[in-house]
């Protein structure tokens, strides 16, 4: 069916957006690309009294190279980031992971920040943000703050964002020259929600960073697996990551299978990232 009726607000500035968000706290939801929100509304799985469409707010559609990180504005579409030269140069793992987000038509409209704010545990970008130790910038009636990925994602579709806050920017740490990286995913079909996904960055200092989606109520970094991976023990890394996951069973995969796939995909992602790092070093 189509959504239940809602009020449609179109603030022209961030301040206006924050103002209506705090006025209707809890009854208002931000609409950016709408690729997760609109299906939920159409299925009537959720409803809000107001949708706050932020698409008319200027200066939110940007991809900027900052000191140490790539800044993605709230209205930057998946597709723009996927095709951005800055992203390819500074954080190539980001465009790689974006290949797995839905399909081109979805990425044309959907936003990177929207995907993060939606906090689906099977989504790719929250896992990537977590793996890299990125952060988000939130603006609300009590000001502006920066939240680290690990404190931002609280649970299934739950974040530390307050009802009056707007996620204005996501910050993806840059990968230093000489890094290797990989994103591996298992889904029923390409573009479906991941059964399990793994982001991996092998850094020039020898450390390895991992982020896993689909295996917990939040994306997570398997720290012990990172250590094993840095020591070159791929199988052990996979085993430790699987041991650290706590997936649920659902229609599409049992918890056991998900856990087993965490192991395989971590192994595969680390191998792939290390190979690329090797190639970068030689090149």
């Amino acid at each position: 069916m189509k959504p239940a009726a809602f009020g449609y607000l179109t603030p022209r500035t961030r301040e206006e957006a924050i103002e209506v968000l705090s006025r209707y706290a809890g009854d208002a939801k931000v609409l950016a690309g709408g690729q997760s929100l609109v299906p939920l509304l159409n299925f009537r799985l959720t409803s809000f009294r107001y949708l706050v469409d932020i698409n008319r707010i200027p200066d939110l559609d940007y991809i900027r190279s900052e000191q140490g990180y790539l800044a993605i504005g709230a209205l930057a579409r998946h597709r723009s980031v996927e095709q951005s030269a800055e992203a390819a140069r500074e954080c190539p793992l980001l465009p790689e992971a974006l290949q797995f987000v839905g399909h081109p038509v979805i990425r044309q409209r959907g936003t990177v920040c929207g995907s993060i704010a939606h906090a689906d545990p099977s989504a790719e970008l929250p896992a990537l943000l977590t793996a890299l130790g990125g952060s988000v910038v939130l603006e609300g009636s009590s000001g502006r703050r920066v939240a680290d990925a690990e404190e931002y994602f609280l649970g299934y579709l739950m974040t530390a964002q307050q009802p009056d806050e707007l996620l204005v920017e996501a910050r993806f740490p840059k990968l230093p020259n000489g890094s290797g990286f990989a994103f591996e995913e298992l889904a029923r079909r390409h573009g479906d929600f991941a059964i399990v996904g793994v982001a991996c960055a092998a850094l020039p200092d020898g450390s390895v960073r991992l982020g896993v989606c689909g295996a917990n109520s939040v994306p997570f970094r398997p720290l012990k697996a990172e250590t094993a991976a840095a020591q070159g023990d791929l199988q052990e890394a996979g085993r430790l990551a699987a041991a650290d996951s706590d997936p649920d069973s659902d229609l599409h995969a049992t918890a056991e299978y998900r856990r087993a796939m965490v192991s395989k995909l971590v192994e595969r992602a680390v191998r792939h990232a290390l190979e690329r790092k090797e190639g970068n070093a030689r090149g």
Partner: protein
Amino acid sequence: MPEAIGVAQRRLEGGDKVSGRTAYVADVRVPNALHAELVSSPYAHARVVSIDRTAAEAMPGVVAVLTADEIGSLGLLAKGEVFYAGQPVAVVVADDRRLAADAAQVVRVRYERLPAVVDPVAALREDAPAVLPAELRSQRADAGAHGADAAQHAASQRANVCGEAHFARGDVEQGLRLADVVVEARYRIPALYQGYLEPHGTVAVPEGDRLTVYTTTQGQFAVREEVCQATGLPEHRVKVVGMQVGGGFGAKFVKLEPLCAALALRLRQPVRLVLSRSGDFLTSRPGNFAEIGVRLGARRDGTLTALAADLLLDAGAQEDGTVGIAAMLIGSTYRVPHLLVDGYEVLTHKTPSGAYRAPGAPQAYYALESAMDELARKLGQDPFELRLRSACQQGDPRANGAPWPRIGLVETLEAARNHPFWRERSRQADEGYGVAAGGWPGGTEPAAAACRINGDGSITVQVGSVDITGTNTVFAQMAAQVFGVRADAVAVSAADTDAAPYSGSSGGSKITFTVGNAVLQAAQDARQQVLEMAAQELEASASDLDMAEGRVFVRGAPSRAVSVADLARSTTAFGGSAAPLVGRGRVAIKRASPGFAVHVARVRVDRRTGEVQPIGYLAVQDVGRALNPMAVAGQIRGGVSQSLGRALGEAMRWGDSGQLLTGSFLDYAVPRAADVPPIEVELVEVPAEEGPFGAKGVGEPPAVPGAAAIANAVADATGVRVRDLPLRPETVLAALAGETS
């Protein structure tokens, strides 16, 4: 003279479809139309205690909230008791679609939950509670139950058996004892949603003492018949307008039309009932779940000695009848001296099963062709050699003993075996090839058609069939061939039930075969009328005349000629002297044209994740005569794609208490473009005696062998057999780990 038959011809309606200009039923705009929304039961089995409509009725713009108590069940609404989750218990009618949906959410229904029988195996048990009360049971749907010893089986004692089929020949136990090798296995294939793009929808418009029904259906005359039965109107007062269909695959015969018609008549206003995708899933009529046990015995050289098969099909909450086809096909494909087939269909508290492209056949052939593959592996034989040794030909007995007419199974197997895709196969690590055959008996139904020569000599063909696969294009080609013109000189008018000659529903792979014959006859009749007019004009005998490119001429003296347009003009002029040119075709073909297909799949299996990737595919099919090779190849590619879904991802699944778990395309995974490998198509032409130009029905066979071909390829790649579809990565991985199979 240009050949119109056997030439690739773009579909007449194709341009409008791909450019978005086609109007579907949801696009029908009628002034003052009301919008209906269904209120569905969340429970699979429940007594309806009360329905409180006050809140819904109080909403401004809500016109009515109605239940079966006022308007009857109409094939859809629950009356006092609900038999499947998603069954509508009430219908809200309002000025506006969204309002109707809002109001449907505040209709308060109180249910008393009753135990639900969800599992078909449990439903078959003798102590199982009856799924339906006796008054909702019709005559036993046992169309296929004419086996020699049907009487021996006392399954009818079981409360939920609603159809059965039994065939026997020889002594199957003796046959199995004679075998050197026996395969014994059970196969399961899930219920499947047909996955059409366009959900069901109907618009009913009362006009004086008449009713017009716009709908998406494969059979407009079938809709008219059921609407008339439901409303009491005679057939000449109901006009059904069959719209362009956005995919049917067996799911679109009659569903919403009687309800929508009854609402429109009661409220004396047009009513529009268009389902959302979720609503469509909830009330879908999926292809049957089947569990099929096979025991197959053979001599060392591959000669079959015995085939025993037991089939269990899930009918859902309404009697069905598919088991007869499945049982017949499983026992009719290979020559085997000792045969025993026992098929049962059981009722369960789930959405009623319906037809899905070759109903019963993909299930039967998944089991049969998997077992044949297992046998070939045990014997160490080539899969084609094993099949060719026993493949049925003309005169061989079917399961019921009746001899096959001329069929092309052997020719199709040979063509596949000789194709480079198989002959030059090369296997990388973790890759495999799988072979499977499959067939469909074909269908018949009386049909009529008209062929008019317009005043300018152009040609209009009139039919009443719904074009779901390009049949109108083929009709244009047929008439063009008869008149020696190009296909675009012919218009095909698929008119509504008021204007069109009768045609059966577009299902069973029979429209080209039956309506096509009527079109051919009508065109030949019209041609003869033209020749007779020309004979007078040219002072020659009609038998000495020929026709091409709009001219009639004396054979051997082409300068003695007259244009068809000149002749036709005198039939439409004021004061004209000749009667209008109208050819008529009417046929009742009695013998169907069975069609066989052989598929070869190539897959790659990821042993770490269990993922199966089809990387190549060959589909060979006997089509009798390919009237439009482009359309035939398209049909075949579509059938293969659906088979890939059946094999690898699709399944309608229900929870333990009968709730549908796969209620959207998010959870029900049909293959997408990226999931379909390149498909090579090879056509075999063993003409059908009664088919127009030798053509056979081609729609259903390509959906039949694919699941077994994929499963056999996976077995070839891994050495491991998974017998329960779909072959999800998790299932395959577990099998590889030796946990199952």
